[in-house]
Subunit: 436 residues, 2 copies
Amino acid sequence: MTLSKLPYKGTRDLFPSEKRVQNFLFEKMNITAQLFGYEPYDGPLLEEVDLYRAKSGEELVNEQIYRFMDRGEREVAIRPEMTPTLARMVAQIHREAPRPIRWYAIPNLMRYERPQKGRLREHWQFNVDIFGGKENLAEFEIFNLAITLLQSFGANATHFEILVNHRKLVDYLFKDKMKLSSEVALKLYKLLDRFKKLPEAVFLEQLETFQLSKDHHTLFLEYLRLSSFEDLEKFLTTHHIDSAVWNFGTFFQLTKEFQLTSYLRYDPTIVRGLDYYTGIVFEIFDKHPDNRRALCGGGAYDRLLEIFGEKPLPGVGFGLGDVTLKDFLQSHGLLPDLSKPKNDVLLTFQIDGGMVPVMRLAQSLRAQGVRVITALETLKLNKIFPLAEKRGAKCVSILDDQELISNQVALKNLITGKQITFALNDLSAIIKFIMD
Amino acid sequence: MTLSKLPYKGTRDLFPSEKRVQNFLFEKMNITAQLFGYEPYDGPLLEEVDLYRAKSGEELVNEQIYRFMDRGEREVAIRPEMTPTLARMVAQIHREAPRPIRWYAIPNLMRYERPQKGRLREHWQFNVDIFGGKENLAEFEIFNLAITLLQSFGANATHFEILVNHRKLVDYLFKDKMKLSSEVALKLYKLLDRFKKLPEAVFLEQLETFQLSKDHHTLFLEYLRLSSFEDLEKFLTTHHIDSAVWNFGTFFQLTKEFQLTSYLRYDPTIVRGLDYYTGIVFEIFDKHPDNRRALCGGGAYDRLLEIFGEKPLPGVGFGLGDVTLKDFLQSHGLLPDLSKPKNDVLLTFQIDGGMVPVMRLAQSLRAQGVRVITALETLKLNKIFPLAEKRGAKCVSILDDQELISNQVALKNLITGKQITFALNDLSAIIKFIMD
C-alpha cells in the first residue's frame, strides 16, 4: 500500500514559503502585543470536554469539537478556541495577580467543520485579553491594539472596518421592549447572528416563525436597518431607551480623540452568537468586495470565571485567525513576497581542498550572527549563481585553486554585482562586505 | 458542579513567567536554525493513523499515541512526533526542490505516556533535518548546529556530551558476527536500547534468554564495555571488522578540525530504539549528576520516503524537546530570570484629566517601538512604584495637576533613579530618556 502524501482534511502543510508568511504574521502579533505590555501565555492542546460543555453548551461540544475518550476514561477534546483555557488559567491566579491582567497567546486550534475559504479545521489564532481594567478604557485599549496590529501591516480604514454592537442593548430590546422570554430571545439571537449569511427572504421567513406582534416586528425591522451610530442615537431617543443601556462614555471620547472613529461602524447584526459576551461586541470586517468576511471577533464579558465558582471579573478580548488575516492581507496586496528564504551568504568551494576553509569561515561568520548557507560538495562556477538565487543569498563566495593557494576567498554581492577577494582570516572586512 | 482549574494530566499551563522561558528557548532555536540556513515548516496537528503505523508499527501506534475516529470514519492521531509529517511533506516536493533540503520546525506533540520528570504528555520539539546532503558533511552540519544551539545558552563540554553510535556497525555485529536472524536482532536492539534504564542484573538476566553461544555472548559483552572511540578502533581491529562498516571519514576530520571531539563519546548502547535510522545515531546527554538524561536524539536515515513509494533519500536530523532542554539549562544555572515581564515604561496619571494626555503619549511612543504599559485608572503616587516593579517597567511617568497645567510629564528611570520633567510634546527627548 502506498500512503497518501496529502495532509488531513481541512489542515495545511506549511511548506517554508507558507511558514515564512505565518511567521511574518506571528511576529507582528508578538510585537504589537508587547508594545501594549501584554504578556504571553499558552495552555494544553487537550482539555477535558466538561470545560467546553460548561462554557458553550452541549450543542457546540457535540457538533464542532474533536473529542474522544482517553485510556483513563477521561472525555477530552482538542481545543477549538482558547478562551475556556484562558478562563481556567486566570481562575487560578486572578486573586493574587496585579490588575489589569493583560495576556496574549497564538495557539493552534481545531474545529470540526466543513472546510471552506477562510475557515479550515486547523488554524492559529491571536488571542488578546485584558481582565480587571476599567471598562471603557479596557475596551478602548483592545480596539486600539487590534487597529495597531492591522496598521502595522499597512492596512487602514480603506481596508477594514470594525462593526460594533452591545449585548446589553440587544438584551434590552429583546426582553424589555419586545417582551421575549429568555428562551425565545436566545433563538432570535441565533437568527440575528446568521443575518449576513442568509438570503433576505429566508431570513424574513424564519423571522415569521417567531410570531412577533406587529409592533414588535416593526421595531425589530427598524432596529435591523440601523447602519450608523447616528441612526442608533435617533433610535434610542425615539424609543425612549435609556442611554445607560448603551453607555460608551469614555470609549467614544477616546476613539474620537484618537481619530479612530473612521474605523468604527454600528452594526445591529453583530451579536457574536451564543458566546459569553455581556458588553460591547465587535467584528473586524474586510472591506474588499471579494472578501467580505470577519477577520476577527471579540467583546467584553464578565462572568467567564463563574464556571469555576469564582466571582465576576470583567474582561475584554478578541481572537484573530491566521487564515483570515492572510486572506485579508493578500486581497489588499499587503503581503510581502516571502516565497524565497533570506540568507546573508552562500559559501561554496570549487575544489575539495576548499571544504575545510569554507566550513571554518562559516563557523566564524555564524559566531558573528551572519546567516550562512554552505555548499556540501564542490560546485562548478556555473552552478553557484542559480543556487544562490534559489537560496535567497545576498552574497556568494568562490574558492578555487588560486584562492586556496593564497588563503583567500572571492566574495560577490549579487545585488550590487560588486566582487572583492579577501584574505580568509580578514573576518571583519568579510563581514562588512556581506552585511553592508 | 464546579469545574477543575487544573490542566489535563501530563500537560502544562504556561503562565507568562513560564511562557517567557519557552519563548526564550524558541528564539534561540529559530536564530540557530537561521544561522545555518534552515527553512521553517510546520504541518497539521492531526495525521491519519496509517502514517504512524507505516513508520513505527502497530505497537507504538497502539500504546503511545492519542488516536480516535473522526466523524468521517477516518482513523486519526494527534502527532506524537514530527518526522512522519516531515517525510510526507518532503515526499511531495523532493523531486523539484534544490538539494540539500534544510528544514526545521518547533511543533507541539503529544504522546500517551505516564508523565514523569522531563517527559510530559505534551511538549514542543525542535526538529532539524537535512536531506540529500553529502553524508559525512550533512552529519557534521547537524552535530555542529546542535552544539551551536546549546553553546548559545552558554553550555559547553562540561555540561553536555554527545553519545554516538552507528546502526550499520550494530547491524554488522548482530547479523554478520553473531549470526542472529533479523527477528532476534530486533529483540536484542530493544534490549540494548534499554541498557541504561535497567539494573545490570536484570539486563544480564534478559540477555540470557537469547541463549547466545559462549563466543557470541563474550563478544556482545566486550562490545558493551566499549566506552571511547579508541576502544572501538581496537575492537574493530581485533575482530577484523571492515572499517567500511564504520566509516566516519570526513565527519571525524571535521570534528577534529573544529575542536568538537571533546563533545563526542562513543557509546555502544545508543541505538535509538526501533526507529528508522540507518547510519549514525546519537543522543545529547546532560552531564549533570542529578539530571543524567538525553536532551536530544537523532541520526541518519535513508528510507524515510519509502512508505510513499519514493526512492531512498539520505537524511540526517534530530529532535530536542523543550521540557528536557529547560531542565538541562536549569540544572546548570544557564536559564536567565524571566519571572517578570520587561516593559520600557509604565505611564500613569494621578488625576482624571491626565488620562487622555497619557493615552496620547502612549500612542506616540508605541509608534516608535517603545513598549508602553498604561494605567487604566488614576493611581496614587505610593501605588505606582510597586506596580512598576511588578510590571517589570524600566521607567515610570507621573502626571499630576501641576504637570497637566503646564503640559508636562515627569519621568523616572527606576534603575538609575534619575528623574526629569519633559514637555509632553517633546517626544524625542522622552524616548531618549526611556531607551537610554
